[in-house]
């Protein structure tokens, strides 16, 4: 097991290096840079001055130099400064990561709370009204886009309840109640969407497992239905579900921009999108690498969870 983990960690190095090269290269291929985005609109800045400002910001250095400098900054955990705002990237991330993690965690919890019981219910009541309802909910979750659902939720909250989550982000430590109000609706929107895929996967895998011989044996032994389903069937049905959930968590960290925008939350999604638009190279590169590292780690954790869920699985 330990050897397996070490091998996976070593394999992660070339993956991350390749990711860093791709994101660095793609950002340089895109036309324009932060100075173009910031100043060119005025029409007041001459080419010579722009060149000087680029030199000052280190944008005039050869690409390989820029890459190596950035890589060293990453390795030494000091990703440098935003060229757009001059803010330390670590500080910008320090503000946005907790927002996204909180949103993703809440959404994931809400998603699982909906998905697992409904998925199991659908499987144990297959082709009966409860199953149909569960499947309709799952298909709705897959079909309704976040932006539509989010807009609808906030509009109807304003119209019917004369209430919307308070604007102006407050952290969990500053003001827990205000924070909860701000996160509940966006997490519900995201969680509903996440629950759909998990729900469908839970249903199909539980259905499959329920047809296994050992489950039939459990029934034959006269065990209670709850015990058969939750103790014997569900645990074995969870491997594909865990794979999906792991992937969803990674997607959540990188892809909550729409919900963050609608509910005015200053998370990583908004930070990254703005940085891409304004060609803030170091911020984009660092964010992408952070997401890549998280995904690699999550994948490893998911793989390790398999062994815990199914004792027959051994890593060598």
């Amino acid at each position: 097991m330990h050897k397996y983990v070490i091998r996976r960690l070593l394999l992660a190095i070339p993956v991350l290096l390749l990711s860093s090269l791709i994101v660095f290269g793609l950002m340089r291929v895109m036309p324009g840079d932060a100075l173009t985005a910031l100043m060119a609109e005025s029409g007041n800045v001459g080419e010579r001055e722009l060149r000087k400002l680029r030199e000052d910001l280190g944008l005039g250095r050869p690409y390989h130099e820029q890459y190596l400098i950035w890589l060293w900054q990453l390795v030494s955990l000091n990703p440098g400064y935003s060229i757009f705002t001059n803010e330390p990237i670590a500080a910008a991330l320090g503000k946005s990561i907790p927002v996204t993690i909180e949103l993703a965690t809440l959404a994931m919890l809400l998603g699982l709370v909906i998905a697992i019981p409904v998925g199991v219910l659908s499987a144990t009541r297959a082709d009966r009204p409860a199953d149909y309802v569960g499947r309709v909910v799952a298909v709705s979750g897959l079909s309704l886009p976040d932006f539509w659902l989010g807009t609808l939720v906030i509009t109807f909250a304003a119209l019917w309840l004369h209430w919307i989550p308070p604007l102006g982000y407050a952290s969990l430590w500053e003001s827990p109640w205000r924070n909860l109000q701000q996160f509940l609706l966006p997490a519900a929107v995201l969680g509903f969407r996440l629950s759909a895929a998990t729900m469908r996967m839970t249903r199909s895998t539980v259905l499959e497992v329920l047809r296994e011989d050992y489950v039939r044996t459990a029934w034959a032994k006269g065990l209670e239905g709850r015990i058969v389903v939750y103790k014997h069937a569900l645990k074995n049905a969870l491997i594909p579900v865990v794979t999906i959930v792991g992937g969803q968590l990674g997607t959540l960290l990188a892809g909550t921009v729409v919900v963050e925008t609608i509910f005015a939350l200053p998370g990583m999604g908004r930070l990254t999108v703005e940085a891409i638009l304004f060609r803030d190279y170091p911020v984009v590169q660092t964010n992408v690498m952070l997401v890549a590292t998280t995904l690699v780690t999550l994948n490893l954790l998911v793989d390790l969870t398999y062994a815990w869920l199914d004792p027959r699985i051994h890593y060598q």
């Binding site: 895109m30 036309p31 005025s42 001059n86 209430w163 925008t261």
Partner: protein, 563 residues
């Protein structure tokens, strides 16, 4: 909405709004094209006034004003950006030398009278090359380190103007300064390289705020702290969350500002801003269409609405007119006549827009021009257009390209309508490329492109000099439309040397007549909008070219809450 300009527009119409409009548009298009031709030249009548006089009641001090805003400041340094995201509050933390009249002292929405801000008075030499500004006495910098409330002196302004000229987005304006002297602590004498009677107007632009030299010297830039002499202190700036301004108790205009705190909440989504207004979390709301106003009024019947009529269009079709085929005026005229602008107004802007012109009309006439008044080349006359293009040697049309950035979702439809008009009426095949913001800007302002671009003029400036000389003179770095017309050069230069307002109007008229006749910039229709605010907000009215929630934010020092 010229006061907001391209940068601001990026966030104004969102996906949701577009889908709504597109949904309406599909139905409306059929109705309008089929049945609405008769009313094409008239805008639907709005029941809302375009001017709200100031309150006659004595102002009540105190309270907190809150606004959900789509704009975030990219940086705090006024040398580096003209973004409305910054100037929606920099206009309150800082002052300029001169300013335009506020709503509570203006005679109406079109009042362009200059008033003293930090300057008490100003006058020019007879040749309009030397301007002397007498500064107000007793003005103090904000009482925070490193200024600690010290008094403002003329050397501060001199240093600030020198820094603007040295680098950054305002260098064009300030590089016309040949030198400056400060004969005493409260006098600044500015020597210009060439006469310019409109120089004070340039200093009244919302972006020419006076910043603190100590901050620049200590920090090396102005990206972290915004300290000025204005009515509000910057209490908090959390990116993508909020900007909080606190009343400056030492403000020179005693008794003002009235409101204790002004909070701007970063709210990028239009539906959320609307919901925030409906639930009372936001006091001010900007809406683009009459339909949206009616929707809000259903839940908030007491909301006050001001119709904001645009006085110019920020976008138009820019042609590479220094190269064939667009260097032939007949080609430009033919293209202009092939485009059905009224169709754009009716379908894209729900009948509530302007046909498009570049110089604000109030500089040369009192009433908003109609499409007919723009001259023969601006009318939709496809047959004559085809004839003219044939005369220019392009009877079978030609191939060209057009690139644009989608500032608002209707813009894509607008570009496509132009493409269809040119194909159908002139057999001109336009290959459209949609670019992202930075790529578009980089290519557009470099001015080396061929074919066509969807051009713009930025929104921060309201002055006549900005809108004429700076955007149209062949030597100006802001001449993005590549105008190169000796008569325009002569007229825009003459305008800078003409102090009489009446004569200025005559010259401005000649400039726009020449622009329309030669189709130097092919302006396209643009919508109007509505400023909606809670019933307890007083003196909020916007003036022409100066929306109170945008570049005209300095007027918020005059606003009060009747609660």
């Amino acid at each position: 909405m010229p006061t907001d300009g391209p940068v601001a527009l990026r966030q104004r119409v969102n996906r949701r709004e577009f889908l709504r409009r597109a949904g309406c548009g599909a139905g409306m298009g059929v109705l309008i094209v089929g049945a609405g031709r008769a009313r094409l030249s008239a805008q639907p009548v709005s029941p809302y006034p375009d001017w709200i006089p100031p309150s006659s009641k004595p102002p009540k001090p105190g309270g907190v004003l809150t606004r959900a805003s789509s704009w975030d400041p990219p940086v705090l340094d006024p040398r580096l950006t003209q973004s409305i995201g910054l100037f929606q509050f920099a206009a309150l933390t800082s002052n300029r030398l001169v300013r335009y009249a506020f709503a509570d002292e203006a005679s109406g929405t079109n009042d362009l009278t200059l008033k003293g801000d930090l300057a008490e008075s100003w006058q020019s030499s007879p040749d309009h090359r030397v301007w002397t500004f007498k500064l107000r006495q007793g003005v103090k910098w904000h009482n925070v380190p490193p200024l600690n409330g010290r008094g403002l002196v003329a050397a501060d302004v001199k240093h600030c103007f020198e820094a603007y000229a040295k680098e950054g987005v305002q260098s064009f304006t300030f590089r016309e300064i040949e030198g400056m002297e400060t004969p005493d602590e409260h006098t600044l004498r500015v020597h210009l390289q060439s006469p310019n009677v409109l120089f004070p107007q340039n200093l009244a632009e919302p972006i020419t705020v006076i910043f603190a030299r100590e901050v620049l010297e200590e920090d090396g830039d102005l990206k972290k702290r915004l300290i000025g002499t204005g009515p509000y202190l910057l209490k908090e700036h959390t990116r993508k969350v909020r900007v909080v301004l606190a009343r400056n108790p030492d403000y020179f205009d005693k008794g003002r500002p009235y409101v204790d705190e002004y909070t701007i909440l970063s709210t990028p989504d239009a539906a959320t801003r609307l919901a925030a207004f409906r639930t009372g979390q936001s006091d001010i709301l900007w809406l683009a269409s009459l339909g949206e106003v009616e929707t809000v009024r259903k839940t908030n019947p007491a909301a006050v609405v001001q119709e904001y009529k645009n006085v110019l269009a920020p976008f138009g079709l820019a042609l590479a007119q220094d190269k064939p085929p667009f260097n032939d005026v007949r080609v430009r005229r033919a293209i202009s006549m092939a485009v059905d602008r009224q169709k754009q107004v009716d379908t894209l802007f729900e009948g509530h827009g302007i046909p498009g012109w570049g110089v604000p009309y109030l500089y040369y006439q009192d009433k908003m021009p109609t499409l007919a008044q723009l001259g023969p080349w601006w009318q939709h006359r496809p047959t004559e257009a085809k004839k003219l293009l044939a005369e220019a040697g392009h009877a079978n049309g030609f191939e060209t390209t057009l690139f644009y950035y989608e500032y608002f979702p209707q813009m894509t439809s607008q570009v496509q309508l132009v493409q269809q008009d040119l194909k159908r009426n002139l057999n001109i095949n336009v290959k459209i490329t949609k670019l992202d913001y930075t790529t578009y800007y980089g290519r557009y302002v470099e001015s080396k492109w061929d074919g066509m671009a969807w051009g713009f003029q930025s929104g921060h400036a309201v002055g006549l000099d900005e809108r004429t000389y700076q955007y149209m003179h062949s030597k100006s770095t802001k001449n993005f439309f590549r105008v190169n017309d000796p008569l325009i050069d002569e007229l825009t230069t003459k305008l800078r040397q003409t102090p009489d307002r009446g004569e200025q109007r005559t010259i401005a008229r000649k400039i726009v007549d020449r622009e329309y006749d030669q189709v130097l910039r092919m302006w396209m229709p643009y919508d109007n909008g509505f400023l909606v605010f809670q019933p307890h907000v007083r003196n909020m009215a916007a003036l022409a070219l100066r929306r109170t929630d945008g570049y005209g934010a300095s007027a918020i020092a005059r606003l009060w809450l009747d609660k």
